[in-house]
Symmetry: C2
Subunit: 558 residues, 2 copies
Amino acid sequence: MSKKNMDKLVIFALGGVGEIGKNMYVIQYANDIVVVDAGLKFPDEDMLGIDIVIPDIGYLLENRDKVRGIVLTHGHEDHIGGLPYVLKQLNVPVYGTRLTLGLVEAKLKEANLLGETKRIVFTPDSELKLGAIKATFFRTNHSIPDSVGVCLETPEGLVVHTGDFKFDQTPVNGQFADLYRMAEIGNRGVLALLSDSTNSEKPGYTGSEKSVGANLEVIFRESTQRVVVATFASNIHRIQQVVDACTASNRKLVVTGRSMINVVTIASELGYLDIPEGMVIEPEELNKLAADRVAILSTGSQGEPMSALTRMARSTHRKVDILPGDTVIIAATPIPGNEKFVGRTVDELFRIGANVIYGPGSVSGVHVSGHGSQEELKLMLNLIKPKYFIPIHGEYRMLRQHSNLAVSVGVDRDNIFILDNGDTVEIQGGEARKGLRVPTGNVLIDGLGVGDVGNIVLRDRKLLSQDGILVVVVTLSKQDSKIMSGPDIISRGFVYVRESEGLLDEANRIVTNTLVKLMNEKVNEWASLKTGVRDALGRFLYEQTRRRPMILPIIMEV
Amino acid sequence: MSKKNMDKLVIFALGGVGEIGKNMYVIQYANDIVVVDAGLKFPDEDMLGIDIVIPDIGYLLENRDKVRGIVLTHGHEDHIGGLPYVLKQLNVPVYGTRLTLGLVEAKLKEANLLGETKRIVFTPDSELKLGAIKATFFRTNHSIPDSVGVCLETPEGLVVHTGDFKFDQTPVNGQFADLYRMAEIGNRGVLALLSDSTNSEKPGYTGSEKSVGANLEVIFRESTQRVVVATFASNIHRIQQVVDACTASNRKLVVTGRSMINVVTIASELGYLDIPEGMVIEPEELNKLAADRVAILSTGSQGEPMSALTRMARSTHRKVDILPGDTVIIAATPIPGNEKFVGRTVDELFRIGANVIYGPGSVSGVHVSGHGSQEELKLMLNLIKPKYFIPIHGEYRMLRQHSNLAVSVGVDRDNIFILDNGDTVEIQGGEARKGLRVPTGNVLIDGLGVGDVGNIVLRDRKLLSQDGILVVVVTLSKQDSKIMSGPDIISRGFVYVRESEGLLDEANRIVTNTLVKLMNEKVNEWASLKTGVRDALGRFLYEQTRRRPMILPIIMEV
């Protein structure tokens, strides 16, 4: 490849377009690669038994000498959760703001990667040299402090990546989005903008986090018993407002749930949470205080089965009970797929007799999104004024809605690239076009296994989950074509065996007849005998039950 | 039991309280039982492989001589879908309005039950004598025509069951809710009201179906290509408005999807749909007409994988293609749990290049709920003015919200009964109290099996779905405590076998060692040998993989 061909700008996603989560974007100019974020996502409902999903970083491993580092926009799992897996294979420097790196370090410590990982803190005012690419930043608003957008200055032009953002005109921590810097970048001329599409389907503006604080305070003051608040552990603005509501209502605070304790500890140490001395008490002290003098901050806003709130709702939490008349605030919107879990938790809390405040933020008043709605996305486009636009972070429909917004503010539709993971945009001499695809995809993590569960295993799990399995064991003597013992049929997940003896006896006869018939016809290869058993038994069982269990014939030979 | 004790009114649910679907309510006075509705529900996500769920009608079977009939409020699956299963065990008369029975008859024909089932049509003006209980009716508005509330006159007093309802002040078919009759019943004095809680979490009023029609007409007129509308097959008002929009925009209509064709046929025959002669064309004629002269009415508004819309979106529909520039209207809200399916269908439609109108009715303008919101539920309470109130149709939290609404309009909180299925309310001498529980629960239907899949089978399916199964086969000679052949390990849904040979070889050694060790220790019972293998192998695999596959040891003896 000639030098001329090499010197182009290439932009693509290894994760995070056409999906929610596992965000990972690659900006390459010649021999310099900058990676933005390294997230994870939670499995789709067809990925049975899978714990988490990360991007396939094969391209980065093949080009490991060119990777200058991973720049993190903020500390959410869908942006940093893949780091332990990535760094194990690709030891490159990690750049992040102070809080982001604080959260990353806890993660790396757990994975025994802290010592060997180079970590570089930056501020929104920093400049980083990443080979031929210079990175600068601008402060944004999001549901976690210290979130930034990234401006990558390449020889080909400026590339801006917004990270996750909203425009909160009254931020809880007084850290305003840096409108001036965004406008100034826009004024310099931006070649390409990659912008957050999460809420591109939502008309209007997203509410200010501060509106939640005002409502929390009223609830805390008016409740005559305990108040429990469940929210995302990483939403430090929200946690600060819970602390403030405790101050206003003269309550002590119990923090429960592993990730909540973890984040509160880190954020307090780093100065991102301002908790009055003596406010936080241990769960053991809860019963010593009057019910209207305490509040509880908890995980479980998604109804996760093992979370602190779910355990409280089921009265299986070892230290915290919820009593009739207590108020429980679920300060979050269910992530799609979690609606039923949240609903069940609310049901159980109501059964206990709690007063539950839940539902969409517009009804409950105790939640706002961390992502900008349509008017905010347009504002970002109008500030940055990019030549090329690449909507990121979201399902295909969200990318599509975002591109319609871009057209509405004047971006040329031909200059918008809706990508799938692995699709590349190449820019050379100011002209962009779709380039060759980079191989990527989902890497499934199941227990300790990284990528060892693929389509075959998942297909089998799906089959097993629907109608179970029948194992048919038989010992044959091939010499004299006789059944020596069996067939024995063992089933799991198919029918309740004690009530299906007739069916299973008949199944047994069918296996025997099939084998005898085949052996009489001198069919002796095991594979053919197994296929014969599988077909005959499958047909019989489907006729009788309209079910298609997996059938596993095992032939032993003596 | 003395005569005095017998002569009381008993009210309970066999399905439909604390859950959505499989609605079935029982009102008993002495020796007369009236059943209201016989619905099904779709399985929860933990009911792996289950097709549908119906109520356990053991109580009715035990008291079959007392059951005077099943009165249907309307023709939705969650109110009539259980009938074929119920009638197979309990041959009692079925009462319904004309459309409701039309839909029931199609169902009974399929189940070969039409001939033996006594079906009695009633109108909102009918009076039915059901033993000592007299049934009268009042017309309501809902997302299917011919919906009624039921008033049961018992010697103990009036019991009113609303069915599903909203108050639509501008109904599409001009059939207004019978406010006078509801008020008149209320004026006579109602002992107990059972009222629909589905939308009790929603503030305000539900929009009129007519608002959808106006928006459909604009979209149909302005689209320059084909328009596809996906909605619930049973929403005949909506279908009528699609027909009207076709008339207004001079389009022919293709109907696709089995249940849509079925309902359109029945509703047209019975006069509930008014379709101009020649408007409906066969899919084969589609390509003969200009794109702006046709529309398509389809199932699949829930993103169901096998539905007509999903097949069109994936370009696997045999007869209908969606082309770039076509407009697709998803005129429904995803049922909780279906959000992801609908999202994927929208993604695929956008990928084709269609213009997709979707999302919450408040944004899309092409959907309204069939259930009344909080103000309408209060209106019903104020019309009927019951002494006792039993919220029905809904998860526990919805029942609870509905009871709060009842209190807000003056119902005594002590007179409200939030029941679980099987909980009874007994009323005698005007006084109500909780009675003994009636046994009931979910009957799971999997293929042809009714109730043969229980907790053990479901637990196995869950285990199998998470980490798969390992079958370990070994032939032993007990006489000389020797392994004659094997162990062979066959796995499904556990790991990708070709890449895990080392692991499986090691597993093999562990099984061998365990068996040899146990047999040396003179442990010879199969059960103990199996347990030994299961424990040792399970421990090893968990250490190596952090997975817990089901382990099925099979020992053959020679």
